[in-house]
């Protein structure tokens, strides 16, 4: 199956089963979503089933264990699909990326889309265990958060890639939760990724042991410096609007 929106296409190399839970790990604040997605793929020993591509992406091909791989890939195991990007997505492609993911997910009769990520907080260094909140799109998402004891975002703005995906889901009535941990903005944050993964495990019904991730924290921070630097200009440009820290209108 191939799904195309704007310059983006999703190509299934192996057919993805219907009714998946889709998790999107795109480089964003602290690379939280990308680290969480990458850890999940390794931990669950997921199988590569497809890729996303656009002519406007940086001209790179990734090599893993001697084999070439597309920079944005799809993995699947037991009804869970993880989308992971190893490249920073240019700002101009973000909307098409969100649209193609949701459009493809709708055709797959997706159960729920989950977007893990970070909310940058200036005092992150003081925080031992980052708090996680869930921004739920539909009533059934809010019920799930409540059932799992995950704090729901009640007032505030969602921004960047999480907002784009959640907005598409809202328009198309697709269940969606953005799971956001307090994080660094400009440094890879495996601690925040671990906090998100613990909550994510509850949503997908898998117990995720995050101890190895926390033990490898320094290696992750060292290895992801370059990706963090490349992703940062887009994140900062999107964050400049500062909506995450804005209180919405009271009577709207």
């Amino acid at each position: 199956m191939i799904e195309k929106v704007g310059s983006f296409s999703i190509v299934e190399v192996k057919e993805v089963k219907r009714r998946p839970i889709v998790i999107c790990g795109v480089p964003d604040a602290g690379l939280v979503g990308a680290i969480a997605a990458s850890y999940l793929i390794k931990k669950l020993e997921m199988e590569e089933v497809g890729y996303l591509d656009s002519d406007e992406l940086p001209p790179v091909l990734v090599f893993h264990k001697g084999k070439p791989a597309m920079p944005i890939r799809l993995y699947e195991k037991n009804g869970v699909v993880v989308i992971i990007s190893e490249v920073a997505i240019p700002l101009s492609l973000m909307l098409d990326l969100a649209k193609v993911i949701v459009s493809w997910a709708v055709k797959k009769e997706v159960q729920r889309i989950i977007v893990p990520g970070g909310v940058p907080v200036p005092n992150r260094i003081e925080i031992e265990k980052p708090a996680v909140v869930g921004a739920a799109v539909l009533d059934e998402d809010r019920e799930l958060l409540s059932k799992l004891g995950i704090e729901a975002l009640k007032e505030g703005f969602l921004s960047r890639i999480h907002a784009l995906i959640a907005k598409e889901c809202f328009k198309r009535k697709v269940p969606c939760i953005a799971l956001l941990a307090q994080s660094y903005l400009e440094y890879p944050d495996p601690g925040a990724a671990a906090a998100v993964l613990e909550k994510l495990g509850g949503i997908i019904g898998v117990d995720i042991d995050v101890k190895p991730l926390l033990e490898e924290e320094e290696e992750v921070r060292l290895k992801l410096r370059e990706l963090m630097r490349k992703a940062l200009p887009t994140i900062v440009r999107q964050s400049r609007k500062g909506y995450e820290y804005t209180t919405p209108l009271m009577y709207a």
């Binding site: 260094i125 924290e217 921070r221 410096r225 630097r229």
Partner: protein, 147 residues
């Protein structure tokens, strides 16, 4: 001119040339510039500069640096020179796959500060692998009478 004066002047010119080249590199390479220096055998850490009303806060992420004694922070003109020793060597082949025999155990980062700071008043602390340097600004404050 004495020999000492000549050495100081020479050193100043050398630093100025270094700085100019770094700025040129920044312009030419931008985000594409590799985060390692093969000549000095050091890695470039991620760093962030934030300006507040009365100070500039510089933070630097230093994974694998364990002790504050392994970090040196020097001020040269309006630049902060940060060097730190890692607790282990990092083989770059595992990071980039190209520079097979190159290993690093040091970070080095030169950060240009804004003009209106007092580097001599800088203080630094190192927590959870992140170095924070606070440099006070030359703030001239006076109260305006409200009539």
């Amino acid at each position: 001119m004495s020999e000492d004066e000549f050495s100081r002047m020479f050193e100043r010119i050398r630093r100025e040339i270094d700085r100019t080249f770094r700025e040129l590199e920044e312009i030419i390479w931008g985000e594409e510039r590799p985060m390692f220096d093969l000549t000095r055998r050091c890695l470039e850490p991620l760093a962030h500069v934030r300006e507040e009303e009365d100070k500039v806060i510089v933070t630097v992420d230093l994974p694998y640096v364990k002790r504050k004694e392994d970090i040196s922070v020097n001020v040269s003109g309006n630049s902060l020179i940060i060097e730190a020793k890692m607790k282990r060597k990092v083989q770059y082949s595992t990071l980039a796959g190209v520079y097979r025999d190159v290993s690093f155990d040091t970070y080095r980062k030169v950060i240009r500060l804004p003009e209106n700071v007092e580097p001599s008043g800088a203080v630094a602390k190192f927590r959870k692998g992140i170095l924070e340097v606070i440099v006070p600004k030359k703030v001239r404050k006076f109260r305006v009478k409200v009539e």
